[in-house]
Symmetry: C2
Subunit: 455 residues, 2 copies
Amino acid sequence: MSVSEPAALPIPIADLAEARARLTRRRGFEEPDLSPRMRAGVRRVFGADLTAIEVVDRIVGNVRDEGDAAVLRYAAAFDHAEAPLEVPRESWRVALARLPSDLRSAMTVAAERIEAFHRKQLRTSWLEWDADGALGQLVRPLERVGIYTPGGAAVYPSSLLMTVIPARVAGVGEIIVCSPPGPDGEISPLILAAAEIAGVSRMFRIGGAQAIAAMAYGTESVPHVDKIYGPGNIFVVLAKRRVYGQVAIDQLPGPTETLLIADEHANPVLVAADLLAQAEHDPMASSILLTTSGVLADAVLAQIPEQLKNLERADIIAQSLAANGVIAIVPDVATAIDLANDYAPEHLCLLVRDPWAAMPLVRHAGGVFVGEDSPEALADYVTGPSHVMPTGGAARFFSPINIGDFTKVISIAAANRAALRRLAPAAIALAHAEGLSAHAAALERRVRPERGDET
Amino acid sequence: MSVSEPAALPIPIADLAEARARLTRRRGFEEPDLSPRMRAGVRRVFGADLTAIEVVDRIVGNVRDEGDAAVLRYAAAFDHAEAPLEVPRESWRVALARLPSDLRSAMTVAAERIEAFHRKQLRTSWLEWDADGALGQLVRPLERVGIYTPGGAAVYPSSLLMTVIPARVAGVGEIIVCSPPGPDGEISPLILAAAEIAGVSRMFRIGGAQAIAAMAYGTESVPHVDKIYGPGNIFVVLAKRRVYGQVAIDQLPGPTETLLIADEHANPVLVAADLLAQAEHDPMASSILLTTSGVLADAVLAQIPEQLKNLERADIIAQSLAANGVIAIVPDVATAIDLANDYAPEHLCLLVRDPWAAMPLVRHAGGVFVGEDSPEALADYVTGPSHVMPTGGAARFFSPINIGDFTKVISIAAANRAALRRLAPAAIALAHAEGLSAHAAALERRVRPERGDET
């Protein structure tokens, strides 16, 4: 790491109101400005200084209207990629076979754990009969889903496992993956190997908004899907929002965040290590520590520079801590949970003496990681729950990826004659009040046939 | 009704390929052009010919930045409304008390049925312990939701019941409703009465994109919500999509559709009545009949002009049938279900001898209405399932409103020491492969403390 000035570490906040204000500053999905590099790319490809939304509108519209021709045009312009768009299954098998055996085994372990956890979530169709007939819900998997996997310098095969395997467990018929190729025109072998292990159906070397549009509308090469998942750059994320309605989408991802609650019993070495692990994701990642112990806070702060010396991504970590790191001293664990609920973190870690007593108080978080032996870093890879979790406060209204993301319900209504006779008057009255006389007539013909023209 | 030329009725399609092609024409959420009246309104308020998306972007941005001041400005411009924005609870009670008793009783019956059906769907948190520790999911309701209810000439109090009651059953903390006032500056007493019965928390007389923006971001008067539901005009729908990410939203609604499957045992009088009931919603509504019996098809077609004579909305019905009506003869019920799956109708009605034999074949629909005694018209008001169902083919990926729309899950990961020791090597290998060395370090400190700097 650089030997410039030491990392600007968070100064512990002792005032509760200040801590709450700091944690409840508006977050949420914000459309960032384009970086200079992106702006240059936009000028080059479109010949004008379009905003990100304008770029996405144009790409999505063109792919929808022109199919593969537009996809190839954008692929050539942005990714220096060419036809064919599809990556043959054989190359995934080869990638898996060539993977170092420790990695292949690691991916297999992860896959088994993710699958086992998601099998526990499977819902069944149900039907209840009573004196009025039957009511229920059919549960059906989505038919075809599309998953976007970013490319670039750092790829995350674990993210592919964490999205594809729940889809497969849910019974989704076909799982499509799009990923931009690297400079060699190929998708990373780590991604291909993960695809083979996870059970992907088809894979295409397409990136950006054009990938999202291709999956939403379908092209000659790419089948259209029912729902699109996965993180990506600003164009990918805006394209997802743009096609919502044509398809369903999952969440609009933002920078990752962890809120760790620790009491005096926690090990400051591990608390520091967990905060640094979170911060290494991204200069905009958030690492937050709420503790009942000023002594622990000081010990953690002393640990950070020591541990930073040994970490490759020390610069990113330092930026993250300076921008979004928070340490606050709180009177008790219940208060910490209350603050955590206000913040609605993606990851909530409990390093306290009695975490299960706190659990009923938890209202908003993506995942809760309980105890020293169950750190977020373990769950990011192998514990079982999907690591794709809601960011930016979206834990108030979104869930981590789970079986429900890949299934839907169909309502069943099978009222019998007795129910019809008893309930029709109420329905008729409401239909008339709403000016829907043909609705009323459809019911009157059934219960008062002399009022209709029934022969 | 007018005595102009008779309604253009669908001509039965006997060719299966033609039927499939007709049913699989692209639907889905389309942004319609603005009507002349809307364009005039846009010019008046904005002084320019903005597109719907531009109008929405501007309104949403201004409400976000200026709060109530912007809301009042738009309310005055579009709805001729003024402060105060909130409708006091007392006026809802008065509206309910003044409701004709048959309507009050009808709404109460509907409310009870909707509540009972949704109580059956409640999910519970779960936790499973095994040799590796514990894994599970917490189930939590959303804290605050916002529901938009259109105003205008025709109001639908039933829609309010069908959205608010599932929210209340789910345990949502606060249910906000926004609705544009009528020319008298007030919200329809039918809506107020329904709000009182359903259990709404607060109500605001605001419409349009400004209502959506106010609920998404919060203003001085309107609390911000976590998720927004409800149909509306093009500005409302585009505003919902615009704020997605800041809040969650439900579906983007489109014209309603019903696909009815009937065999030779069905009563053509009732089949016709059900098709006409569907068509009266909207000139763009779709009424589709798939039948195994040419005789039934002919009898239904003969019924339609007869029944139309007695219906207020005959013009709308005629337009709908001409634009989107379909009748097709199919060889058997299984083929009909297959076509229905391709179409993915909002409503699927089964008027066949053995509907339960067909049920396992159903893959995509909002709701299935089984048998002559359980028509869609009954379920639109009182059978129990919410009548807010996915349109435009969205039944491929969305569900009708159900408890899941108002709840979320939080993953629980509580691995124990044995699991940590066994699984950490796999996680460490993956972390290194992904370039996340601080993740690896957080694990290594726990399993190989001599590798860290732990004191």
